[in-house]
């Protein structure tokens, strides 16, 4: 096991990793940018080291700054959190080259799953259904031919992308022609790679993902699924498990097929396979996340398994220590992402001082957040302020508990998206489990918030 881990991230996930380190009796060194000096993880760390200015390219995205910080503070491992360099094979390789362990899949595994297109083909070969789509499109004519074959509407997706950036849905050949150039340049700007592919657009789909954990010895388990269909502009805002739209046997089949395919494809450590599920309940594999995810607490609440600790143990070379039969999911869990966003200004990210913060409490209520009264939210990074996670013996009980906790939560001083969560837990569409990934965008999040639309 590691003795000292450098946490190469910020915000709530830095704190989450720090807590996992504490639980495993590992010392935690927090790497922070000048903008994060006041953050809670820095204050709680065994040691904290400033790695650069607020600009992430010179701090959290700087491989040399992070690795140097790990080396000079005597760390034997780096935890990359999520985002930033968490799935960067070159970073993982550079970390290893300095005799430091990367807490995540090994570099060759990251490399194998780096391209979405290649991953889809690889996992399709191992039995996972994928959305009918193209390979990387060569040129406009190729794109038009492929779209014809797949059937409109189609989604243009960047091969190197993530987080919904650079994606566009087109309904006609004419729209495809005009959008292709735009998508390519957006992909180039965002990911440094302008290759795109096409996928059939599924109307009214649900986003369901399977959590897996695979050790270095090829032993893997799934830890159930999460339904992340409440999204705004391709960003998840509420996640829950189990999904309300599949029955127990369909859920088990999906999870079993996912873990079988991913073990066969040589994956290691914790990861998430994302699927879109259409109105008829057919699941299509879309992509894999080779890291811990924001919504991992949902699974922790359902299974009682500490996913970050599991991730660290696997990276240290330990066997998983439990099998599929040992994993049971109980009850229902929901996570609400509390973001610094202004609902009155189209959910624009906000920054400022948290003047008052009172987290909710009570049984089966968990608040993962790095903020505190007086904390200043810097404007440089993502807008996640924290995650409220609740558990109940069934979905209705979890929602009821979530409603109480959301009412209890006080976070003042800057605009947040709390209102949309409060509206959600009182909306028929959420209560009846009818959310689809495009619903909020279709009706307009502001209109939904105002209760002005019947959905």
């Amino acid at each position: 096991m590691f003795s000292r881990v450098l946490i190469a991230n910020r915000g709530e996930i830095a704190l989450r990793v720090l807590r996992a380190c504490r639980a495993l009796a590992i010392e935690a060194v927090v790497a922070y940018s000048e903008a994060d000096r006041e953050t809670l993880a820095v204050q709680l760390a065994d040691e904290a080291i400033c790695i650069g200015p607020p600009d992430a390219r010179r701090s959290y995205l700087s491989a040399s700054a992070l690795i140097s910080a790990a080396v000079v503070t005597g760390c034997d491992a780096i935890h990359p959190g999520y985002g930033f360099l968490s799935e960067d094979a070159a970073f993982a390789e550079a970390v290893r080259a300095h005799d430091v362990a990367f807490i995540g899949p090994s570099p060759d595994v990251l490399e194998r799953f780096a391209s979405k297109d290649a991953t889809r083909r690889l996992l399709a070969a191992h039995g996972l259904p994928t959305i009918p789509g193209s390979g990387i499109v060569r040129d406009e004519q190729d794109a038009l031919d492929e779209a014809q074959r797949i059937g409109y509407p189609v989604l243009i997706k960047p091969s190197a992308g993530g987080g919904g950036k650079g994606m566009r849905m087109v309904r006609t050949p004419r729209e495809l022609e005009t959008s292709l150039t735009v998508c390519r340049s957006e992909a180039k700007a965002a990911f440094g790679d302008d290759s795109v592919y096409l996928e059939r657009w599924l109307e009214d789909n649900r986003h369901i993902e399977v959590q897996v954990a695979v050790d270095r010895f090829g032993r893997g388990v799934h830890l159930g699924e999460r339904d992340c269909s409440v999204q705004r502009r391709h960003q998840k805002i509420v996640e829950e498990g189990p999904t309300p739209v599949l029955d127990a046997s369909a859920r088990r089949d999906l999870a079993d097929s996912a873990v079988r395919a991913i073990v066969a494809a040589g994956y290691e450590n914790v990861g998430t396979l994302e699927f879109l599920v259409d109105r008829e309940g057919r699941a299509y594999f879309i992509e894999i996340n080779c890291r811990i995810q924001v919504e991992h607490p949902v699974t922790e609440m359902l299974t009682g398994i500490d996913l970050v600790a599991t991730q660290i143990r696997i990276a240290a070379g330990e066997p998983l220590g439990f099998g599929q039969a040992d994993v049971t999911t109980t009850g229902h869990a929901i996570e609400f992402r509390i973001n610094a966003e202004d609902p009155e200004q189209e959910f624009r990210p906000s920054a400022g001082v948290v003047e008052r913060y009172i987290p909710p409490g009570g049984p089966w209520v968990r608040m993962d957040s790095h903020v505190y009264g007086g904390y200043e939210v810097p404007p440089y990074y993502d807008s996640l302020l924290g995650k409220l996670i609740v558990w109940g013996p069934d979905r209705a009980a979890a929602i009821a508990r979530g409603r109480v906790a959301l009412d209890e939560l006080v976070l003042e001083g800057l605009p947040t998206n709390l209102a949309i969560h409060r509206a959600l837990v009182d909306s028929d569409v959420f209560l009846e489990g009818r959310m689809t990934t495009n619903l909020l965008d279709r009706v307009g999040a502001a209109a939904f918030l105002a209760g002005a639309v019947a959905v």
């Binding site: 065994d46 080291i49 790695i51 650069g52 080396v71 007086g374 404007p379």
Partner: protein, 292 residues
């Protein structure tokens, strides 16, 4: 450790008092200190803290103090064989102290510097509160807590004290009322530090020793980042005082590494010590002004 904003700002500004030479060389020079700074301080984090009377008036005041008051204070200091003199006049506190070589000299500290320290106090307040379990803890607690946590970091104790402070034979120097740990950040306008460009291992530049004269931009040391040296440069023309960390010690981004004394005025002038002039704020007689 953060870059010392006080020294860097003071150092980066041109002299504003053209008449300083015969009135004590550094008075005008150091008059570039902080009231002006405070008003132009940008960035989202802190509100501007311009003095109510405005920068122009402050400059005029500093100029007046330098020409009218400082020479007489310096004379009194020498005549009376005193280590330090302080007087309060029309909203200003002016402090003159003797240098190591027996001379006296001038720098003017002002409200902006103290306000920035106030901001720093706010930054460290939460750590301090946690440590002390009380809500009124101030900067000292936060600072010492931070330093104790960073085992590889420097502890700016005696070694980090500017010479002005160590020269007073036990007489309290300016800033000592705020605690020795913070002495180094107090804003002696002569004191300048070269800071770390990156995370790595520090090495003092060859030939760098106390008294070495360097020009702005000269390399005074390096930080080894995974085998790649990155230069630590002097921010202004200066004289090397000493390294604040030892060779091969781990340093973080922005950390103060080498202390320098700003080269200014005529080096042969006996007035090389310090004058500190601070606008007196209501109720701010002892503590650092908070930034809110």
């Amino acid at each position: 450790m953060a870059t010392d904003p006080v020294s860097r700002r003071a150092a980066a500004r041109p002299p504003i008092d053209g008449g300083g030479a015969e009135r004590g060389p550094a008075a005008g020079d150091a008059g570039a200190a902080s009231p002006v700074d405070a008003s132009v301080r940008s960035g989202a984090a802190q509100a501007a803290v311009a003095p109510a009377d405005g920068p122009v008036d402050v400059r005029a005041e500093i100029s007046r103090l330098a020409s009218d008051l400082v020479p007489s204070l310096a004379a009194a200091l020498v005549a009376g064989d005193l280590a330090e003199l302080e007087i309060r006049q029309r909203g200003w506190r002016v402090r003159v102290r003797r240098n190591a070589d027996g001379g006296a000299a001038a720098d003017i500290d002002a409200a902006g510097a103290r306000r920035r320290l106030g901001a720093r106090a706010a930054i460290d307040r939460h750590a301090a509160e946690r440590e002390r379990g009380r809500s009124d803890a101030r900067a000292d607690g936060g600072e010492s807590q931070r330093e104790s946590r960073s085992s590889d970091g420097p502890v700016p104790g005696d070694a980090a004290r500017p010479t002005g402070a160590t020269s007073t034979n036990g007489t309290a120097a300016a800033g000592d009322d705020a605690g020795t740990r913070r002495r180094g950040e107090r804003g002696d306008a002569f004191r300048v530090v070269a800071t770390s460009p990156a995370v790595g291992l520090f090495r003092l530049g060859t030939g760098m020793r106390p008294g070495t004269r360097v020009r702005s931009g000269d390399v005074v040391g390096i930080v080894d980042v995974l085998g790649v040296p990155q230069e630590v440069t002097a921010p202004v023309d200066a004289i090397v005082m000493h390294a604040l960390v030892e060779d091969d010690q781990a340093v973080e981004y922005g950390q103060s590494l080498v202390e320098l004394e700003r080269a200014s005025g005529d080096a042969s002038n006996p007035f090389g010590g310090g004058v500190v002039a601070v606008p007196i704020e209501p109720g701010a007689g002892s503590a650092e002004g908070r930034n809110d």
